[in-house]
Amino acid sequence: MDNFTPLSALIGGTFIGLGALLLMATLGRIAGISGITSLAIFQREGRSWRLAFVVGLLLGPVVVSLLLSDFSFSTPELSIRTVMAGMLVGLGTAWGSGCTSGHGVCGISRFSARSLVATLVFMAAGVFTASLF
């Protein structure tokens, strides 16, 4: 557990919660990143606010890299595994109506039974594949 970073985890999680809360308090929308991004692409109605949200998502690391001098992160190689994972995440979040943000943060906070079940299932499946492969 020498890689445990509790302080940055707590600060980062607080920002995630605040951002999601801002969207609910102002626009009355659940901050589900998979849903917002896919509708920004595939649905004309309500596209402008969804695109603005996605632009905010894209710029977050740029802002952080300006503020923190030692900020860096790894990225995956382009491989069959990476593309297959992307396809599974796309299919799964669309069929399951949400991802880590929509179900894991917003849904559980509203005591939604669907979101609690979805979160337990995708966490278990994630632990399964990451531990085995």
Binding site: N3, F4, T5, P6, A9, I11, G12, G13, T14, F15, I16, G17, G19, A20, L21, M24, T26, L27, G28, R29, A31, I33, I41, F42, S48, W49, A52, F53, V54, L58, L59, V64, F73, T75, P76, T82, M84, A85, G86, V89, G90, L91, G92, T93, A94, W95, G96, S97, C99, T100, G104, S112, A113, R114, V117, A118, A125, G126, V127, S131
Partner: protein, 137 residues
């Protein structure tokens, strides 16, 4: 004004994803892989995000409407069904393979990695296919 607040919400969440290092697939995989050098950080990211959001949601829950819109848009279906279970399983399998869920993958695009781009293009293709072939209840 809608787009300003939506932009700020996305930016705040993405800053959180970056600061917490969830943007780094290696960090996420170190949490999901319980057989190796286990890193519990992601549990604290979830816990603090949940603490902030659930407190805030509790405070605004009886408001008649959000500040900038005519009503709250909350999902009505609340029982788990077959598409939810199948979808969450498939999502989890993909998450554990690459260490990316949608937020961190989109945020990481600014780094200009071809691997991240490949993941996101495949994810968008997955969204398209799932919209074309919805699962029966």
């Amino acid at each position: 004004m809608h787009i300003v607040f939506a932009f700020l919400a996305g930016l705040l969440m993405s800053v959180g994803i970056a600061v917490s290092k969830m943007i780094d697939p290696a960090k996420v995989l170190a949490f999901l892989d319980v057989t190796g050098n286990w890193d519990p950080s992601l549990a604290l990211v979830m816990a603090s995000a949940l603490a902030v959001y659930s407190t805030g949601f509790w405070l605004i829950r009886h408001k008649p409407a959000p500040i900038m819109a005519e009503k709250f848009h909350l999902p009505v279906v609340s029982k788990p069904d077959k598409p939810l279970l199948i979808g969450a399983t498939i999502f989890g399998l993909g998450w554990g393979l690459a260490g990316y869920c949608p937020g961190p993958a989109i945020s990481a695009l600014s780094a200009g990695s071809i691997g991240t781009l490949g993941f996101v293009v495949a994810m968008v293709a997955g969204w398209y296919l799932a919209r074309k072939w919805p699962l029966p209840r």
